[in-house]
Symmetry: C2
Subunit: 278 residues, 2 copies
């Protein structure tokens, strides 16, 4: 029998990986099994496998905690973390907890990050070279009075610089309903995830607006785009076509991402993308 | 006892992760254990744990294959891959095998990628926001007659756009010696890995050259830089200081990376970086 491994008292942040419960790393799993308390970050709704599948596989009770709770309750947790082993399982790949880590360090609590795959690099599976990506942008859900489009100028800037743009699409989880905002007990809207079709439709509206003012933006309705869905999961999907086509295409359940490749592609990138043509 | 899991006949590309043999994902490890043949990509010299540690932990004989061998021998492997399960373990995170995947698809061989952490996102552990990175650049080793500096204008371009630049540093593995180039049997130079100090020294030389022609590049000797070494491993190191300081600092064994942050940092980025000041 292997010697029982003792993990040090520490605050761990563990990347979950992109697909299902088996996408955690071996090291991450060992720590999850041995920590005194295991938090799972709020975005459970983005899990492709559901939190109960995680609990069963890990053999651990998971404390489902939204980001606010983790960060607001952080002081209590961190005060305990000198004596106990805590870990936070992070569906986004364990790199975005700057605030939490800073506060841990202030209190003298050791932090260890167990890295895992992230959508930021997994998108390389569509065949576009990761080194040719410019700044990543986020496309937010528009509301009646709020139609931000600054991401579009960033994407155009990348395009001018012959770089690809990865567009991360908005996620709304735990949004209080308007009616409940004034009440004591908040009620939440069902989670929603922007699809490639929704994102493309918004981009088309921005292009339309620019054209009305006589501009001709670098990115237009005919620009080649890549739509990605559920990358890393068994049923992942990649499709390639014009922005107009993307606005009509249904890629199924979340999570989706959209890539606007630069204007000049490497021959191998072209060969690769061709296989995913709509 | 859990039911014996059968993995489908397929060509697998499996990310190894950044640290040691336990940084493979649970899914990746299951596949490695069950494949008929397991290739380990050439860059074993960048492994922090050595390939024999991998063999022992996986309980599998690994076929050490450099990239050329994998790609040249690919036809034979792929012809067999309809009947056998092959996997390639990729120290870089399983996203850069475009050519191999294309050839597999041409032959009708199914390919599955098991993603893992990559240095491209793991650098987020220094506290700089991943969304504020521009184009990634590579700093090559200079030779007597070849001093390329195009990466520097890319980094300056990122800087002007208020974006951080991740500089990947050159790796020389399996470089034939000059004398052996004309012989039948190639002899190879010992592997070498560019350090943050070497990279910074080259950047300083480029700045010097620009200054001699009367230019004042955005990035200069006083620009704040982040030096990273062995990210994801137990003894990882992060240091922050001017480019001049980086050129003098010894970060120890490979692999190293250098970040040139943009000119405007978020207050939380500043707080975080301060903790790593030289």
């Amino acid at each position: 029998m292997a010697a029982l491994q003792v993990i040090p008292i520490m605050f761990y942040i563990i990347g979950l990986g992109l697909g299902d419960y088996k996408d955690i790393t071996v090291k991450g799993l060992e720590i999850v099994k041995k920590c005194d308390d295991v938090y799972l970050e709020a975005y459970t709704s983005i899990l492709t496998c559901g939190s109960s599948a995680l609990e069963e596989y890990y053999g651990r009770k998971l404390i489902i905690a939204d980001r606010d709770l983790v960060e607001q309750g952080a002081d209590d947790i961190l005060n305990e973390a000198m004596k106990k082993r805590y870990c936070v399982i992070d569906p986004f790949g364990a790199t975005t907890h700057t605030d939490l880590v800073l506060r841990a360090k202030e209190k003298g609590v050791q932090v260890q990050v167990i890295h895992n795959a992230s959508i930021l690099t997994a998108v390389g599976c569509c065949g576009l070279q990761l080194y040719s990506f410019g700044e990543t942008v986020s496309i937010p859900y528009w509301t009646e009075n709020w139609n931000p489009d600054s991401f579009f100028s960033k994407a155009c800037n990348n395009y001018r610089n012959k770089l690809h743009t990865l567009c991360l699409l908005d996620i709304k989880v735990k949004e209080p309903t308007l009616e409940s905002l004034t009440k004591k007990k908040k009620e939440y809207m069902p989670p929603k995830f922007m699809s490639v079709a929704e994102a493309s439709t918004q981009v088309l509206k921005i292009i339309e607006k620019h054209k009305k003012t006589g501009e001709t933006p670098e990115i237009n309705e005919d620009t080649l785009c890549v739509g990605l869905a559920r990358i890393g999961a068994k049923d992942q999907q990649i499709v390639v076509g014009s922005l107009t086509k993307m606005a009509e295409y249904d890629l199924g359940p979340p999570l989706h991402s959209l890539i606007i490749p630069g204007p000049v592609l490497h021959p191998m990138e072209i060969d690769y993308l061709e296989r995913f043509r709509i």
